[in-house]
Amino acid sequence: MSKSIDQAFVHAKQWLLSWLAGSPGWVVQVASILINIFMLLAVFLTLFALISVLERKILARMQNRYGPNRVGPFGLFQPIADGIKMLIKEDIVPARADKIVHFLAPVLIAAVAILTLGVIPYGRNMTPFTIDGGILFFFAVGSATELAVFMAGWGSNNKFSMLGAMRAIAQMFSYELPLIISVLPVVMVVGSLTPDRIVAAQAGYTFGLVPRWFAFTPWGAAAFILFSVSGLVESNRTPFDVPEGESEIVAGHMTEYSGFKYATFFMAEYIGMFAVSGLATTLFLGGWHAPARILEIIPSYVWFLVKLGALLFVYIWVRGTLPRTRIDQMMNFAWKFMLPMAFTCIVAAAVWHYASRGLRGWLWSLVVIAVVYTALSILLDTKRKFAPRVYRFAE
């Protein structure tokens, strides 16, 4: 029974495709692709609507206020109202803008964000597009975001836009390195760039109790943290929303956008966040695997969504907690701490692998990470830098 619920969507798709039995092969192929795309868009656009209102409500709770509560029950219809507002708002294009580039930027950024969703396994047998180098695809396509942001900045012909775009590109470039390098340990250990294989490699339980997720190994935990932080930066969210910091440069590269184009940017940011969280889930949190053997009766895609939701909650939580960083602090952090640590994770994963992947490997890789972490914090003088601030007043 639980198996059929687990595979419900897969069966439904096969049933739909069975209508096309007898038509040429490419028709079935195209139909299958279209179904996948449709499902992806339906699920994630709904999720986007839901998260946008939930984020506002959660943030409101954290800031001791109510948040949206007027439209529909508990304000749940708020996104619909927002959507209608965005759609009927006037679309303003600056006179001196580069109109083609200005128009293409939001299209590209949204397309890229949605494309990256395609390679993530959402449940057992539920990967929309299986590519041999799925992880590489994710990053290859994701790297076009920078171009899109630059197009937005350039096309608007506005100083704030340009500055915001440059900041965005600088930070995205810097954090793309730790992001990708922190994925490498997993790829190395699994020996594959295919997300399905990576999820499969995390099946099973040590001592029948602790799931074999990579986040439970020292290198995996370190890489997971690095990946999540870098992912946070890549999606330009607080505390790393330097490129669109409204108190400094209006809204960065989105300054000259309004109406539906602005909504597209907004959507792309959220979908990018979903994609990074989904990849983090796949890589480190065991994908759609259940955290305990007993809980395997719950369908796999539910587990995936639960983990995704947990990560998203953490993102919102961080946004509600931390203030915005300065750009130079961010850059220093990326190059002086994140990057060496990411390389250390590779070494630690290799140590873990060659020390037979057991408890011994666990301890040794912990030692590697702890040593490098300590050395880095001594070298970077974190004790002094993160001490309580001393205020000096004019005397």
């Binding site: 580069d98 580039v101 041999d132 590489l136 290859a140 790297s143 171009l147 350039w154 590109i169």
Partner: protein, 160 residues
């Protein structure tokens, strides 16, 4: 490997490439170049070299194209429109194209259909890179480091 896909991709690629070579606004040309690269990556997919296609997208669109637009931004004084157009260059390019096409068409041994080859997995590429091609790989790593440092030195502001 279907003809339809080939025709679509080649028209797309060549159109984008032509745009990249002839558009008057530099920024538009750079973006067209990125589009042309997507087309070439599609060619690679079509030919079964998925990894190379992905690497091409990753490196060219993620890095080289952004570098180019950044350079355009930094040397903006003339970035608006590129007026001059050297017609002798066009003639040479057309002649080269003619010569190449003529010699390709003339060589009969080239009109072959692709044989069936096993899919080229990333794993196999990785193994090849780590065994037979490990020296070139290291050399490329060294080259990239040198290029990185060289580029930095070139653009560093001279301290006065």
């Amino acid at each position: 490997m279907s003809s339809a896909a080939f025709v679509i991709i080649s028209i797309f690629t060549l159109a984008a490439a032509l745009a990249a070579a002839t558009l008057r606004k530099l920024m538009h040309a750079a973006l067209s170049f990125a589009v042309a690269l997507v087309g070439i990556a599609a060619f690679f997919f079509l030919l079964g070299a998925e990894f190379v296609g992905l690497a091409l997208v990753f490196i060219y669109i993620g890095a080289v194209a952004v570098l180019i637009v950044f350079t355009i931004l930094l040397t903006r004084r003339h970035a608006g429109k590129d007026r001059g157009f050297n017609w002798s260059g066009v003639a040479i390019a057309v002649a080269v194209f003619g010569g190449l096409t003529w010699s390709i068409v003339k060589t009969q041994s080239l009109s072959i259909v692709a044989p069936h080859v096993p899919a080229l997995t990333v794993k196999r590429i990785g193994q090849a890179l780590m065994t037979s091609y490990v020296w070139p790989l290291q050399c490329v790593g060294l080259l990239l480091t040198a290029a990185l440092i060289g580029a930095l030195v070139l653009v560093m502001e001279e301290k006065r």
